[in-house]
Amino acid sequence: MGKGRYLLKRLLYIIFVFFIISILMFFIYKLMPGDPVEIMLGDSKLNMKPDAYQALYDRTAEMLGVNRSLVEQYFIWIGNMLTGNFGYSTQYKQQVAQVIGTPMRNTVMLNMLAMVVVFVISIPLGIATAVRKNTAFDKTVQVVTIIGYSLPSFIIALLMIFVFAVKIPIFPISGVRSPGFSGTGIEMALDTLWHMALPVIVMSISGIGGITRYVRAAMIDVLRMDYIKTARAKGLREKVVVYVHAFRNALIPVVTIATGWVVGLFGGSIVIESVFLWPGLGKMLIDGLLQRDFAVVLTMQMFYVVLSLAGNVIMDIAYTIVDPRVRLEN
């Protein structure tokens, strides 16, 4: 009963925060200098007679609805958004729903693979370093992870390109697919995977560095607990002690990080996307801001707001799963 009320309360909170943020975002973006109609019409201004251009401007402003008051525009926008109409992109001259799909797919695909690689490597590595605390292995991993964690990703990216695409050309430098590629679906998927290799490696290096250190710290804390000593005293095998008794209790900080990553699956990285020419949401958001393409920017921002708010609830629920001592109550 307590859990249900808690979730209901959180849901109401999400709705409230969603509307407050939607109002703030909408008015902040709309008050930015720069006329989206002018930007959308681009060079037309210099190809048309002034009166013809003015007529076109008025027609376009009417089509976009930007000739109405800001309050009116807000209600129209939020009404449309809640019914699945995300508006019209002035930059791409298409409906937002039509232009956002492919970059979102690219971003999710890349982030998901990076996430899998990061967790598959960093969790066992974190556990191993905690168990072998202060050994040469632990110290080596500590140094390597801190380097991976500290280096800016664009430097790692350029180094990786230089080593694995220029000097030892085993991976492509950039892009999603080979130029002029044709083949079956499986061949195409393999080609895309091949192109994902370098960006995934770069994204994983900093991710592995961070999460390994989180897991290690959490495991070290847990391994000091009395119940671990009890488990060992009972004569349980070390693997059972570490992976069943200790690791589950060390999961809470890992869940926090993991939830952040899941939410971040939809967040593009402008650096990775620019260096590896991987058309994703990060570059789309920046381009949208620079082009005053408010429909695209607001859709993405509100999507991230919903994801973040929902992510917090999911994180709370996940805590109760990994640690039965945690209760979802008011």
Partner: protein, 632 residues
């Protein structure tokens, strides 16, 4: 290791340049500017014979990502897509030649006549050649040309994503037709199966580039409006049948099947094989039905793949063979990296000067840059040669007025320019002298100017300081260099430079007076249109200013008169045109609405497998690719 560091440094520089809104890194190289000029210099020597049949594949790298839009610039004016339109849609009746001139395309046009009517209008009648066909084999007739004029000026198409429908604004009857008040377009006629005519409004004549009025290109009516027909009447040509916005939404704008995204039937040198939305990569294959360009040249490369490349890594891509051609490379880091590959024998190069320049643009409606003297004084405070050299490292030239090094007028006037234009070499004493003569002779307290600090001038009984408000875009290397070179010199002359950094749309709003209207100068880059029309750019008519043509907001009757005189000069009267052009350039050089900073030297770098490559700033890659071939 050295190369790795260079790569890293290049990455850092490229990222900072990318954040600046598109302005590119350049420098000045006086030697290069005097030796190469407009003619391209190529290190490549042809080592094979051009094949009879199209063969091979060329991967072209572009730094501007291609978008899924293949109709025309009115829908999408992305620079890369613009070139793809050229390759897909062809057979315009008036073309732009390799020498930079407009002429009727003899491959398309059988005959043409121009008739000056009694009411001051002018009729261009064009008969097209027999035997032209679409890529699906359907014959091309005059109906397809008239259909384009009717379609792209119709009120129906204006409902499709804000299509401007402005191509026919100079044609008689345009206003009624585009407003939907007339079914027929009065100034357009389908004379017979292979002939159309266009009548131009009297108020649009005479016009230097009036040959462009005769231009039309075919659109496949059987694909875009299959149930419709084009018929002629006394009132003009019209489209009959169910020609509606709903039809166009389906046949042009449907993302799954529409012509805008899937131009299935075209008549240019290439057809669109595929566009990969995930990788933003377009693949074009040769159109076997293409009749040839204005010289009759047909493509010899079977497949073109246009893929996006990054400034940071594009030379690596060329070296690795994942792209075959990088065009219009600029900036010292990029060019030097490319020249290293040339030296190593891995790639070839072609270079030419850009048809435009980077500049300081003054707002001449704002105090104190409304004064010619103040603008000239600012120019005398900047060592432009040193600026260009530091900025790029040897790959740019400086110009002294609104001309490009590729323009034929410049080529004809080199000596005249040397003798007649002020070069504004850095001279602080000259700047002081000009300011004194312009009345900037006071201190803040009204006493005579002491020789240090900001000068003041009495304007309408009020003392006003000589402060120049400068708006620049964030992360822009030109702004950063100007910030180190200008303020101190200007302060020495008695001027104060106040810089404000902002993003490009904000700067654009200020330039167009729709944002903060306080700035005196901006720095940005510009290119010259093929039909360069200075009479609009310096018109004193407020409508041309608010419309963005006169971006300097300059009201100077002398400059307006000297440019207006050019508008009426017949296109073929090159001698008169050249005299008028020189008069315009001389006046411009004196009035100085902009300070030209640099004109880039562009480099095309390409794989040795690419043969016959010959580009210039007026003959870009989408044209040059027809002459070229590849060896495997």
């Amino acid at each position: 290791m050295k190369k790795a560091l260079c790569l890293l440094l290049a990455g850092v520089l490229a990222i900072s340049a990318a954040a600046c809104g598109g302005q590119q890194t350049v420098t000045n190289d006086q030697t290069a500017s005097s030796s190469s000029s407009a003619a391209s210099s190529s290190a490549a020597e042809e080592t094979s014979v051009r094949p009879e049949q199209p063969t091979g594949q060329l991967v072209i790298g572009t730094t501007t990502a291609i978008e899924n839009d293949f109709y025309d610039p009115s829908f999408n004016n992305n620079a890369s897509n613009y070139k793809i339109y050229d390759l897909l849609h062809g057979l315009a009746t008036v073309t732009y030649t390799k020498e930079g001139e407009f002429e009727y395309d003899p491959t398309v046009v059988k005959s043409h006549t121009e008739t000056e009517n009694e009411d001051g209008t002018k009729t261009f009648t064009v008969t097209i050649n027999d035997g032209l066909v679409w890529s699906d084999g359907t014959p091309i007739t005059a109906k397809d040309f008239v259909f384009q004029l009717l379609l792209e000026n119709s009120d129906e198409i204006t409902t499709i994503d804000g299509y401007p429908a402005n191509g026919g604004v100079s044609i008689v009857g345009y206003d009624e037709y585009v407003a939907g008040e007339a079914d027929a377009f009065a100034g357009v006629h389908l004379v017979d199966e292979m002939t159309y005519s266009i009548t131009i409004k009297a108020e649009e004549l005479p016009y230097h580039y009036d040959i462009t009025y005769a231009s039309a290109m075919p659109r496949p009516m059987h694909i875009i409006a299959p149930e419709c027909d084009v018929v002629d009447s006394e009132e003009g040509a019209m489209i009959t049948g169910e020609f509606t916005s709903d039809l166009l939404l389906k046949t042009i704008n449907d993302t799954a099947t529409g012509y805008r995204y899937h131009p299935s039937v075209t008549c240019g040198p290439y057809t669109l094989e595929s566009y990969d939305t995930a990788s933003q990569q377009a693949t074009l294959v040769v159109n076997p039905s293409f009749a040839g360009d204005y010289r009759g040249v047909k493509p010899a490369i079977e497949k073109l793949v246009i893929k996006t490349v990054s400034n940071d890594t594009m030379m690596n891509e060329l070296e690795a063979g994942s792209v075959d051609l990088l065009f219009q490379s600029s900036g010292a880091d990029t060019i030097n990296a490319g020249l290293d590959l040339v030296e190593a024998g891995k790639v070839e190069k072609t270079s030419y000067f850009r048809n435009g320049y980077g500049k300081i643009q003054f707002d001449c409606s704002q105090f104190p840059t409304d004064s010619v003297a103040v603008r000239q004084a600012v120019a005398y405070c900047l060592d432009r040669g040193e600026f260009a050299r530091q900025y790029s490292g040897g790959y740019a030239a400086i110009v002294h007025a609104a001309y490009g090094l590729a323009q034929w007028e410049y080529q004809e006037s080199k000596d005249w320019i040397d003798q007649n234009l002020e070069t504004y070499e850095k001279n602080i004493d000259k700047a002081k002298e000009i300011l004194e003569a312009d009345g900037w002779t006071k201190n803040a307290d009204g006493s005579d100017y002491s020789g240090t600090g900001t000068r003041y001038k009495e304007v309408d009984g009020e003392l006003r300081p000589l402060v120049i408000e400068w708006a620049n875009s964030e992360g822009n290397p030109v702004s950063e260099l100007l910030s180190t070179m200008l303020p101190e010199a200007m302060a020495e002359a008695g001027m104060e430079l106040k810089a404000t950094t902002m993003d490009f749309p904000t700067m654009l709003a200020s330039m167009q007076h729709t944002g903060d209207k306080i700035y005196n100068m901006y720095n940005l880059a510009t290119g010259f249109a093929t039909a360069n029309s200075p009479w609009y750019y310096y018109s004193t008519d407020p409508t041309w200013m608010t419309a963005g043509y006169n971006s300097n907001w300059i009201v100077d009757q002398e400059l307006a008169d000297v440019t207006w005189a050019m508008k009426d000069t017949p296109y073929e009267d090159t001698e008169t045109w050249l005299n008028e052009w020189q008069a315009y350039i001389k006046t411009w050089n004196e009035k100085l609405p902009d300070i030209p900073l640099y004109s880039d030297e562009y480099y095309d770098f390409y794989s040795p497998k690419l043969q016959g490559w010959d580009t210039s700033s007026v003959w870009e890659w989408s044209r040059a690719v027809l002459d070229a071939w590849v060896t495997e």
